[in-house]
Symmetry: C2
Amino acid sequence: MKQTKILLPETEMPTQWYNVAADLNNPPAPPLGPDGKVMDPSAMSAIFADNIIEQEVSTQRWIDIPEAVREIYQQWRPTPMFRAHRLEEALGTPAKIYYKYEGISPAGSHKLNSAIPQAYYNKMAGITRLTTETGAGQWGSSLSLAGQMFGIDVRVYMVKVSFQQKPFRRSMMQTWGGEVLASPTDLTETGRKILAQDPDNQGSLGIAISEAVEEAASREDTKYSLGSVLNHVLLHQTIIGLEAKKQFAMVGDSPDMIFAPCGGGSNFGGVAFPFFADAAAGGKQARLVAVEPTSCPSLTKGHYAYDFGDTEGHTPMTLQYTLGHDFMPPGIHAGGLRYHGASSLVSQMYHEKLIEAVAVPQVATFDAGVQFARAEGIIPAPESNHAIRACIDEALRCKESGEQKTLFFNLSGHGHFDMVSYDKYLNKELEDYDYPQSEIDAALERLPKTAL
Amino acid sequence: MKQTKILLPETEMPTQWYNVAADLNNPPAPPLGPDGKVMDPSAMSAIFADNIIEQEVSTQRWIDIPEAVREIYQQWRPTPMFRAHRLEEALGTPAKIYYKYEGISPAGSHKLNSAIPQAYYNKMAGITRLTTETGAGQWGSSLSLAGQMFGIDVRVYMVKVSFQQKPFRRSMMQTWGGEVLASPTDLTETGRKILAQDPDNQGSLGIAISEAVEEAASREDTKYSLGSVLNHVLLHQTIIGLEAKKQFAMVGDSPDMIFAPCGGGSNFGGVAFPFFADAAAGGKQARLVAVEPTSCPSLTKGHYAYDFGDTEGHTPMTLQYTLGHDFMPPGIHAGGLRYHGASSLVSQMYHEKLIEAVAVPQVATFDAGVQFARAEGIIPAPESNHAIRACIDEALRCKESGEQKTLFFNLSGHGHFDMVSYDKYLNKELEDYDYPQSEIDAALERLPKTAL
């Protein structure tokens, strides 16, 4: 009987996260304030708790996972790794394909890995309320559950069009006790200003971030929480890659290439960074491949420059690959990858050629997702389909060349709340979209001038 | 750090199913044909493969699980058992609460436990097509995936109103390669007859069964597959309870009371029968509690009589607790429990007072489900909420009495495709419905006369 599932014993669950900042050739580029000068970490304390800020700027290689966090992690962690025997057979490839499955978390994706410690640290800092934004709802639902578990109230500013058209993740957040508002609201200055100009405004992630940040900055008991991009979020996600390394050791194998979807970067960083640690320590250098949509090609086609994290320009500026903070993402179905920029850490590693990136078109990602679902059973999230596409492409190259490479991808979540997009795919209603180079070039003109 | 998850090693996964028919005091009551006479098993061969019929009538206590089935089972089995520490704390009960989680199967519920072997046995018998019916889509999606894995075409007759109003499980079936038709169709005599009389007919489970059976009976290469009620389906589900017994042994505990939702009976039988085996062998007698909705109270209020399995009266008659085969289930959200009757094995055990039953109202089941989701993270299927309600009620009784009972329930599936019902609950739009005694009494008149 072939072994498909590789389970790490609970006693082997990592007790520390890995901080890649300790192993970079150059120190991480610091965030800049609105005046274009290097921001003092304490300037972030209006919206983040001090213990979170401390983690954000830490260069310590290993950081302890608090016991209270591990106790909750263990409800679904260590997550299983699978050898995709049936997919290999369907492809007829000599390559070995492994995947790690983060969709078994109660919230259905890897996002809960950071929501739990963020709720914990805020609780320790005496915070009783958290605000955040959400688009499709992956992050908002994770933080709602995490808040519930630590007795912290969570208010989620949900992009109005998603609030109205995607009610299921909204119900999920509410089931876990989260308060969900359709953004723009009349509760913040940002929201009121926008509604005064345009009462029918359907909202955007940029507006929702601005509202959540504004509220957090205005209340003593409230902080803001972000689900990707920042260093501490990527740190929390490294538990994925750390577990995977142990699981590879259990079967006496190790990956030659690792694929993960890349939007803000927490998914990619979470699975790839711990393998970079091996290379940094002189060990095997697996090729680390960030996979993004051709419709949002920040790494593969964007500018490496200081830019804002949000559309409105209310956040600090970070050095990143960006399509311009006023980038309007096309309506692709991988909501988690519809972001103009990328994590500063991921961007720096890409700039220094420590990692690779590839862009794949939408329809091909669903081709891959359906092929995977029919072979392996699990229906993947549209974001995950990007990694599957790139992995299958490599497996097919191995079929041509006869190479027996070991390929590994992160199946970051299930697609149970994304069946509308599978339905469109099956009805041949999905389209590809290449974000035009002219738009990318034009965005360069609109990057914040203070940082140049 | 408190242990919440109890994982059975893969090497400990059961290699045999348990057949409760071997341990009953009286032989199972045989099915009757349309003439009211005991049916010869061979009469079923028009719609079931011979190896399935053999299992259906077997009284052998232990039946080997084929290696090809175990190989697929191991993708998600053994499923985890959890000690519900946080729920216990929220309730303030001295009772210990455990639950087994079947929702981690790729199809999201226990249904896949029987879909896989049914596809396997049909494959072994040379069958290349299977027909089945589905309401909300739990069973249809499981069989679509199982068929895909064994290279068997699956055609699902889906109740038209669900086909139109619940597109997500339909997309799931299609993603796995299942062919999904809105029933009534114009492909069967049953369907054409109904559409001729009523072109706008919205379908029912009874009609869908009739169409699926009619097609299977008319083609050599095609058989019919059912997701509950029958003996072989309950047999396949016993892997749940068999694993649970080993998991209890791992933590040195054993349940005093076991709760499972009961519609057709495969969920309840799957978790409860293996514990009945202990009692039959002179060991501990855990109380086995089948939990049903007050809107479909077949065990608690129905007649113990021979009745059909479908509305149209095309199936054999079995001895069961029934509300009458023409029972029109109220529109409650636990679609899997909207059935007029019950498994013959479960009915016989209830009649002989070997198991218990309780009926709970809809709103209270969602109260319990939301309380559970906030404490434990997982959002349960509406069917599972019935077991959770009954278990919480007992835990609260223990709080009153101070008893430290060990309680156990089967969390048969997740609620990711049922968020509409959570939304209605949160908006206080859900209602309770007690099926009236007068209707139940009246149904007695309409039971098939040939069997009386």
